[in-house]
């Protein structure tokens, strides 16, 4: 198992094509990041997230021959997860539920999106900002999550969302602007 764990993603993919057991190592590597990514963008209960994650892994397994080393395996896996979550919400006609981000995640996102001179001391103020983020369209919210919570590089976000770098930069800029506008609209002035 140790030897297998030192293998690269590409080597594991080749092995997984022959034997699903080897796919287990890949799943082990990515279940944490993918679980949290799905949680952050879907904001569903844990059981639902696990169901979605299993479906995502099965999709990844079915598409193993589609993977090309032109991009990182993690970006490709995130892309499949993104598409699956979007499909899920389309099919269920549901909007992502809210408030599934952890406290530190909220703080990271707020700090990165809004110019803050000092730490957010006022809990009530932070709550108001969370509400503003929750009200944002999924496209902007997701891109802010990928950039500031997942801490992905622009190139990785580009590969995950299948959008050119310029579009990614524009979406991040617009997302931040939208959040700033919402904060202004709500008269939140606690920085």
């Amino acid at each position: 198992m140790d030897k297998k764990e030192s293998l690269t993603d590409s080597e594991l993919i080749e092995m997984a094509k022959q034997n699903p057991e080897s796919f287990g190592i890949l799943m082990e590597r990515y279940q944490g990041p993918l679980f949290h990514y799905i949680r952050r963008i879907s904001q569903l209960p844990k059981d639902d997230i696990n169901d979605l994650l299993q479906e995502v892994f099965i999709k990844i397994y079915q598409k193993l021959n589609e993977y090309s080393e032109n991009l990182k395996f993690s970006s490709w896996a995130y892309r499949i997860a993104h598409n699956h979550v979007v499909d899920y919400f389309r099919k269920t006609s549901a909007r992502p539920k809210t408030n599934a981000l952890e406290g530190y995640e909220w703080e990271k996102m707020i700090k990165a999106s809004v110019h803050i001179e000092k730490d957010i001391m006022d809990k009530d103020c932070a709550e108001k900002i969370k509400k503003c983020i929750q009200d944002m369209p999924l496209a902007y919210k997701e891109i802010l999550i990928l950039r500031f919570i997942e801490e992905k590089e622009y190139e990785e976000i580009m590969d995950i969302l299948k959008k050119p770098k310029g579009t990614v930069a524009t979406l991040i800029r617009r997302g931040k602007k939208l959040l700033a506008e919402k904060i202004k609209e709500q008269n939140i002035n606690c920085f």
Binding site: L53, Y61, N65, P164
Partner: protein, 256 residues
């Protein structure tokens, strides 16, 4: 979390789920590139017709039609083919965007590269003569195309009532030419010392010419300017300038 992994492996094995064959993705990828190639070729072919048409039309006739340069330009550009070029270009852009790595390039970069490729390939096709051949074939075989969809050099110069006439010289006499126009109708064309004959216009029997002037009767036309069929006639030729009073210069008025 451990259970999820084992559950997933069990499900894969139990339901005999296998990775989809690689050829399926290769086919999808190649078909996107093939579609891109097809629409790009069609765009280039359409572009070659536009280029060929632009090259053959006389862009200075607005002066003789008492029309503004811009409105004249708008009246003769080949809308049908330009629309086709734009439609195929847009299709090519979307095709390239759908390819595996197409999303990595910005729209402006894809647009620039695709437009450049279409223009270069279109010019190449045009120099090989395909644009002209296609246009002529459609002109000959599809009356609707000839009448409504395209201003061609032929239609531009077959408007005697507006002062434009083209045809082949049948005979040359003093102060008079007899020509057969593009519809095989015979015309007597009178010329005088004020008639401008462009330098490379050859006034000989069987030569094709374009005439700017005025319709004087059912089959009479007074020439103000004579150009060779190809181009404006500014190059070197045996003729040029105005005719002298006798209408004769260095044998140019002689039939062969």
């Amino acid at each position: 979390m451990k259970n999820l992994i084992q559950d997933t492996i069990d499900k894969i094995e139990r339901q005999h789920i296998t990775p989809e064959p690689g050829w399926k993705y290769l086919m999808k990828n190649y078909s996107l590139w093939l579609l891109f190639a097809i629409v790009s070729i069609l765009a280039a072919l359409s572009f070659s017709v536009v280029f060929d048409n632009a090259e053959n039309l006389d862009w200075d006739l607005y002066q003789f039609m008492h029309q503004g340069r811009f409105s004249y330009f708008l009246s003769i550009i080949p809308y049908f083919w330009i629309t086709l070029v734009v439609a195929f270009l847009v299709a090519a852009l979307f095709e390239i965007r759908k390819t595996e790595t197409g999303y990595r390039y910005s729209w402006s970069k894809i647009l620039l590269i695709t437009m450049g490729s279409i223009a270069i390939f279109g010019l190449f096709v045009s120099f090989l003569g395909f644009g002209g051949k296609l246009n002529s074939k459609l002109n000959k075989e599809i009356p609707f195309y000839r009448q409504h969809m395209m201003i061609t050099k032929e239609s531009q110069w077959m408007q005697p009532s507006k002062g434009f006439l083209a045809g082949t010289i049948i005979s040359v006499a003093k102060n008079k030419l007899e020509i057969k126009d593009l519809n095989d109708k015979r015309w007597d064309v009178s010329i005088d010392d004020k008639t401008l004959i462009r330098p490379s216009a050859n006034i000989y029997q069987n030569e094709m010419i374009k005439i700017i002037g005025e319709k004087k009767g059912e089959d009479n036309f007074k020439a103000q300017e004579i150009r060779p069929w190809t181009g404006k006639g500014m190059g070197n030729g045996q003729n040029g300038g105005s005719l002298d009073g006798s209408g004769n210069r260095g044998g140019m008025m002689q039939g062969k």
